[in-house]
């Protein structure tokens, strides 16, 4: 084998999860044309299989020791990337499981849907491993453009269209900022390679005594672009609308996947490229964290639409993640990663429950509809309660440890007041989560709502999410170790 061929094979190997997803995506796309409507759900299973195979590929990659780069350093395969891949793939897999019956019910069962989901996953995977802003940009766009379409997948529903349009316009708007940021960073440092930017900044600091102002400006604009995607204040505005309007399984995906992947990119850019400027961006993160938590929680307090409430809740959670982000330490990275893992499970889990509860045309999303649900559907209610408790941050759930590690990281960096604000916020947040539980458990059963049987597919998905949530809540040690290793690999050269 020639060295060239060997290198190309290795490149392909290192990129295997994305390739697997692409292949499955294309296969589904093609198969769609030849599959009769009645059998379309098998495409969903194929997509799920795709995520499993991709996971297997990720698993295989995880045996790589140290840090490898592919395609002349454009892609970095390290523990960090692998961890984020897993998180993203879990989110995608769960979302697919939630979609199969949903689409059936809505009469939207199409191969394109799953193909788009898988392509979005490719984008997220690229984001996770990007070591070059071009790649980051492309990854971001792949996941975004797929998301725009997915958000509008329920074309019959006006709110789905609206969500799609808003997401598209604002998403592109933010992308423009992101790109301009990249341009400025490029202008300031002469490179767009993430690790090279670090060196350029560092040498500029050495020569001129400070970070180039252009790079700084660029960082600010990058923060805008990425902050938009991870839904932090004041760029959170679009999220509730989009999350509410999108088909629920898509909401699950949107709330989890892109957020996790974009956070990964943010970590790379902020922690690696602008590591030496952390005293500057720290304040941006700090302010944004406080705003995000407060806006998310306060606005959620007054929501009666549970789906929208969960959308606000995911804003609040982005705030908690920022608390860990603000720490600026390796522990902080680990905390962010762990939080993402827990968050993906509980958030997707919660939205999956809504997938079922909403019923046809997402009719039942008001809190009133869930009155006395616990009597009629005890297991589903228990499941929902579990996710809500986890979102709330009660022990024995993943959410608790997520919050705990976040607090720990922030306190470790002496961010006492930030943690206190986060703590108070999480109590405020408790109110609206508990209100749903109040409705389900304490109220008299609602008359309008007729429960339907939970489909096996969804049950399977919910079981995974629930077990995962509890696993992270009871035995977080292993995942935490992985997160720490990932954090370490992110920061190692």
């Amino acid at each position: 084998m020639t060295p060239f061929l060997a290198e190309q094979l290795r490149n392909l190997y290192l990129l295997s999860p994305e390739i697997v997803l692409c292949v499955f995506g294309i296969v589904i796309m093609v198969a769609d044309a030849f599959t009769p409507a009645a059998k379309q759900r098998w495409l969903g299973w194929t997509a799920f299989l795709g995520t499993l195979v991709a996971l297997a590929a990720v698993h295989h990659l995880s045996h790589e020791s140290g840090v490898s780069t592919a395609y002349s350093g454009l892609i970095r395969v390290d523990g960090f990337s692998i961890f984020v891949h897993v998180v993203v793939l879990v989110a995608v897999g769960l979302a697919i499981l939630g979609s199969i019956d949903y689409l059936e019910m809505e009469g939207l069962q199409r191969g394109e849907y799953y193909a788009l989901v898988l392509f979005a996953a490719v984008g997220m995977g690229i984001l996770a491993g990007a070591n070059e802003m071009v790649m980051a940009f492309l990854g971001l766009e792949m996941s975004s453009i797929s998301s725009y379409i997915l958000a509008g997948f329920r074309k019959r529903a006006p709110q789905s269209n609206e969500a799609s349009l808003k997401y598209f316009l604002l998403g592109s708007f933010a992308t423009a900022f992101f790109l301009y940021g990249i341009a400025m960073v490029y202008g300031g440092t002469g490179t767009t390679r993430i690790d090279a930017v670090h060196e350029a900044v560092w040498s500029a600091v050495g020569k001129q005594g400070h970070t180039p102002a252009l790079a700084m400006l660029g960082l600010g604009l990058i923060f805008v672009g990425l902050g938009f995607k991870v839904v932090i204040a004041p760029f959170q505005v679009y999220a509730p609308d989009v999350y509410e309007g999108s088909p629920t399984p898509v909401t699950a995906l949107l709330a989890a996947g892109p957020k996790a992947a974009t956070f990964a990119l943010m970590l790379r850019i902020f922690y690696v490229s602008f590591n030496s400027a952390s005293s500057f961006w720290f304040w941006a993160v700090w302010i944004s964290a406080v705003l995000t938590m407060c806006i998310g929680n306060f606005a959620a307090l007054v929501q009666t639409n549970v789906k929208r409430m969960l959308a606000y809740s995911s804003i609040a959670h982005a705030g908690y993640i920022l608390v860990a982000f603000a720490a600026g330490t390796e522990i902080g990275v680990a905390a962010v990663l762990f939080y993402l893992a827990a968050y993906v499970l509980m958030k997707v889990g919660a939205f999956l429950v809504l997938t079922h509860l909403g019923q046809l045309d997402e009719r039942y999303l008001d809190i009133q509809d869930y009155a006395g649900l616990a009597v009629r559907q005890p297991v589903l209610s228990a499941c929902f309660a579990l996710f809500l408790f986890s979102l709330l941050g009660l022990p024995a759930t993943g959410g608790f440890f997520g919050k705990f590690f976040a607090f720990r990281a922030a306190l470790d960096a002496r961010l006492v007041w930030l943690v206190v604000i986060a703590a108070i916020n999480s109590v405020i947040g408790a109110y609206y989560y508990l209100r749903v539980i109040v409705a389900m458990y304490f109220w008299e059963p609602s008359k309008d709502y007729t429960p339907t049987r939970v489909a096996p597919t969804l049950t399977f998905g919910l079981a995974i999410a629930a077990i995962g949530t509890i696993y992270l809540g009871v035995l977080p040690a292993r995942v935490l170790d992985l997160a720490q290793a990932a954090a370490h690999s992110l920061l190692s050269r």
Binding site: L169, A213, F235, I295
Partner: protein, 654 residues
Amino acid sequence: MFILDSLWIILALPLLGAAVNGLLGKNWPKSAVNSVGIGSVALSFLSVLEAVREFSQLTPSQIPFVRDYFSWIAAGPFRVDFSLQIDQLTVVMLLVVTGVGLLVHIYSVGYMAHEGGYYRFFSYLNLFVFFMLTLVLGSNLIVMFVGWEGVGLCSYLLIGFWFLKKSATDAGKKAFITTRIGDFGFMLGIFLTFWTFNTVEYKGIFTQLQQGSFAESTLTLIGLLLFAGAVGKSAQIPIYVWLPDAMEGPTPVSALIHAATMVTAGVYMVARMNPVFSRAPEAMFVVALIGALTAFYSATIGLVQTDIKKVLAYSTVSQLGYMFLGCGVGAYAAGVFHLMTHAFFKGLLFLAAGSVIHAMGGEQDMRQMGGLRRHIPITYWTMLIATLAIAGIPGFAGFFSKDEILEAAQSGPHANTALWLLGVAGAALTSFYMFRLIFLTFFGKERFDEHKVHVHESPKNMTIPLMILAFLSIFGGWVAAPHFAGGTDYFEKFLHPVFTQYAPAAAGTETAAEAGESGGMQLLHALTGIPVILGILGLLVAWWFYIKNTEAPKRLAASLHGLYLLLLNKYYVDEIYLAVIIRPLLWISTHVFWQTIDVGLIDGTVNGAAHLARQAGGEVREIQSGSTRSYATWVLVGAAGFTALLLGLWWKVR
């Protein structure tokens, strides 16, 4: 040494009786219940007798005779054993408690024969005897406190025995709560004692007092705090108010608890703690002052009461005042002596009054009686004896004890003329209102409807206790009689060690004014002393008013209308307490604490915060106006803001 070594038997018997009756007696026949009730107390009494016999054989160094049973409280250095002790003072109290207790039990068989809750009654009575014995037998303040509170409980239960009557339950509650106010002081006294002496054992406290020197102010404070407990329990000014109300209970209860034993616990306690008081003259003065004031004050109220038991109740308050006066002027023995004689004659008075009430079919208003001496002669005679005794007519028990107290107040080491005057005046009033009671009840014409009320003499099981007590009311005082003839006061001699063993050295061993005048002169002096004269005067006035000239009281009442009303309404003390303390407290609790602070302020703040949060949520959601352009503006705000922030920081650092 059978009983002395097992002092607990004395306690255990009544407790057992109480438990058996209380738990099992509900469905038993009355005879079974009362044999358990009486039997246990009788056995206890016999044990006491045996204990006294054994006690008399102890050498002085063995006294007080202490027995530890078990460690009851052990918290760090605060250790309390459940231990009992017996000394001369205890002996007196034991005899009184079990003796009178036994008589009252026997009496109750007849008195309560027709009442419901018979088993309950005997159970409570036995329980009372148990606690009272605990009180007097305890060898430390805590065990005493147990008995102290326990008798309070029994008092509560027995006053409210007829729990269907609101007045009865009110009275029981009032008794308990009011005495608790005193107990508050008592508890603080115990705390201070422990703080000072690091122990609560009598022996330890007294020994330290003797050996070390303690600040008089501390001792005074201890004395006053302990005395506060006594004031509550023994119904002295200003918290005597519960005792008259306590007459809502069955009469045997009044006799035993609210005359003979429980209410004297305060006196016992002061006497018991005499080493402390002896070193705190100011505390002693307060004791004497409160005692004298109460003695006079409640006697004035007794003048105009018409309820036979109320008269006796105020009389009890008054007599308790004498006892404190005695203790306060240093004549502890006299105080205890009066305690004993009072137990006899006041117990008798109550039992006899009970007999009257029994005979009258429940009527307690003396204005509805009259001429009863022909119908119930035994009751009449015994009651007369008791009245003579309480009025201090020479020869009767009360004469000896009361005179001794007044004498000490006049000429003892802590003599105080003003207090003496109060005491003497009280004595005159006592004589008056007691004879008023006798005359109204037993003399004159029958003021009741003989057809409705079938007046009958009480059964034997009621009259025999009366007779025994009458005997004691006459002769019970003679143990101290020789004193008046210049001889030895046997009672005092017996108690002498208790009050001298730990007495301050300077005070010496004087207790009775034995020296000086010759015996004959003394006797003459005593017999012609002002108290006696006034006592007889009181009798005569009462005779004048209620036999001779029955219109006189009305005229007097009319001419002194204000004073009369004041007395009749007991100086409006209950009303004042209600208006000044209870009502405001309840009002503040309800309106200020509960409604304003709890509901308004705290919950208001919390709910307000919640409301505010929701309102903030309502405001915050306005950001989400639904307009894409406004969303873009927010992104722009962020872009401008954060770039400005970053470059601002950059500018600063550069």
